[in-house]
């Protein structure tokens, strides 16, 4: 597994919360995030890192963790996918 940093389009709401709306995959593909199921502080022991873990629901009902660590977003990814 590796840590893959990604661009994310977010909504910063009036309450100061950050909600990810789209994940930009491979610099061009805009993947919509249907829903954020959970936000919790969590370390990623698989790829390393410590921050906020967003449990996101993508189309079609696929759940993935998106991590926010010191201003950067990343996902856990199998290295053979690259």
């Amino acid at each position: 597994m590796i840590r893959k940093y990604v661009d994310v389009i977010c909504l910063n709401d009036k309450g100061g919360n950050i909600r990810p709306l789209f994940l930009i995959w491979d610099e061009e593909k805009r993947v919509p995030i249907k829903k954020v199921k959970e936000i919790c502080p969590r370390a990623s022991l698989k790829v390393g890192g410590s921050g906020l873990r967003y449990t996101c629901v993508f189309e079609p009902n696929r759940i993935r963790h998106l991590y926010y660590d010191r201003g950067k977003w990343y996902v856990e990814m199998n290295d053979h996918v690259l």
Binding site: A43, S44, S50
Partner: protein
């Protein structure tokens, strides 16, 4: 009421932080070390595989590599360590507001008044261990006792990601006295000479006797050994103790070979200390010079001023005077340190005539240094410096602030 104090110690903090961000280091011998090229070449922290191979904290990189040639060395990433330390501390604040940091990776927590809200001390301890492991990705050793000294001792005994509790002084009477806070090599040697080997031995001694052999610390040791330490855990909103000294030490990129080299290093170190004094609005009345030769012999000297000052030039001149006196060490020198103490936020001084020669000189120097500080504040520390340090930029390369993180 008997207090419940936790001492939370992040295990092999620097090494764990590196392994958190680089999981590939988890199962191989790895250590965080000072910069080899710049000769801050000691092991600051190591992981468990490196420990198994005999690598020790504070030994030189060369020694460590001799024991374990495949040892992976990482340069310290203080920004990450401070970030993680702050996150852990924020988590502690969810349990109590009585938190007293002891270095970057250790904290005392007084949970006496929090227990009713969480049910028991056990639920707090288990919750802390779990949350630090899962949310931050680090592990803790937690010591629990009724005072700070015993809590610290208990955390030293506790295993990684576990806790240990000391209920009374009797529990630890058989442990070596060196385990107590403040008993270093020197004090341990003195105590051994008097047949005091265990905490129980120290507890049986008379306070006056311990004072006679160890000085002021003897009284503290008497209290510690008998479980009588009642120092409170500071609240987070209480002001910290003011600094008692400010220092700047440099292990230069190369040895200091002669008086010219020495002057350059002293100017840079004094400027550093002077800058920090002015940042904090403090004056000093004592200057210390610490020299270390290539055989690691250390010599320290100090001199007291007639009136206090905040001038870098004053620090440099006094340190130079100390150096000019017979210091017993010969060139080449490996490192030099300059420190000031007797700090005060007020200028004190003897009555001098208005515009005497000294006073005029001092005023002129003060104006000059104030102008330099203003330039540095606006354009950065290296925007202005003494021309002399340009003679050898390698020698004058010194960290701005001394951070003592060894052994994390």
């Amino acid at each position: 009421m008997k207090r419940t104090i936790l001492h939370c110690d992040l295990n092999c903090f620097f090494a764990s932080a590196e392994m958190l961000y680089h999981p590939e280091y988890r199962n191989v011998p790895m250590a965080v070390s000072g910069d080899r090229k710049e000769r801050h070449g000691i092991i600051l922290a190591k992981n468990v595989p490196a420990k198994r191979r005999g690598v020790r904290t504070a030994e030189t990189i060369n020694e460590a590599l001799r024991k374990c040639p495949e040892l992976i060395l990482c340069e310290p990433d203080y920004e990450t360590y401070e970030y993680l330390s702050m996150k852990v501390r924020e988590l502690y604040y969810e349990y109590t507001d009585r938190i007293e940091p002891f270095g970057i990776d250790e904290c005392w927590l007084d949970i006496s008044e929090s227990i009713p809200y969480f049910g028991s001390w056990q639920s707090i301890v288990f919750s802390l261990l779990k949350r630090v492991r899962e949310e931050i990705g680090l592990t803790l050793s937690i010591g629990i006792s009724f005072n700070k000294v015993y809590a610290k001792l208990a955390s030293d005994i506790a295993k990684e990601d576990d806790f240990f509790k000391i209920d009374s002084a009797d529990d630890i009477s058989g442990l070596p006295v060196k385990g107590l806070l403040g008993v270093g090599e020197k004090n341990d040697r003195i105590l051994k000479q008097h047949g005091i080997l265990t905490i129980g031995d120290a507890a049986k001694q008379d306070a006056a006797f311990l004072h006679s052999i160890l000085g002021k610390f003897g009284i503290s040791l008497y209290l510690y050994a008998n479980g009588l330490d009642d120092s409170p855990v500071a609240r987070f909103d209480e002001p910290c103790d003011p600094a008692r000294s400010i220092s700047s030490t440099s292990t230069c990129a190369r040895d200091i070979r002669d008086r010219d080299d020495m002057k350059i290093v002293l100017i840079r170190l004094s400027e550093n200390v002077g800058h920090r004094l002015k940042e904090q609005g403090l004056y000093f009345d004592t200057v210390h010079l610490i020299l270390r030769d290539t055989d690691l012999n250390v010599q320290t000297m100090q001199t007291k001023l007639a009136e206090n000052s905040d001038l870098a030039k004053e620090i440099c001149d006094r340190a130079w005077e100390l150096f000019e006196n017979d210091h017993g060490l010969s060139f080449p020198l490996r490192s030099v340190g300059v420190a000031v103490s007797g700090l005060s936020s007020h200028k004190t001084g003897s009555q001098v005539s208005l515009f005497s020669q000294d006073e005029r000189y001092s005023l002129k120097q003060k104006n000059k240094e104030t102008a330099i500080e203003e330039i540095r504040r606006r354009f950065g520390r290296d925007a202005v410096f003494s021309l002399r340090v340009l003679e050898d930029p390698e020698l004058s390369k010194i960290e701005n602030k001394n951070k003592s993180y060894q052994g994390r």
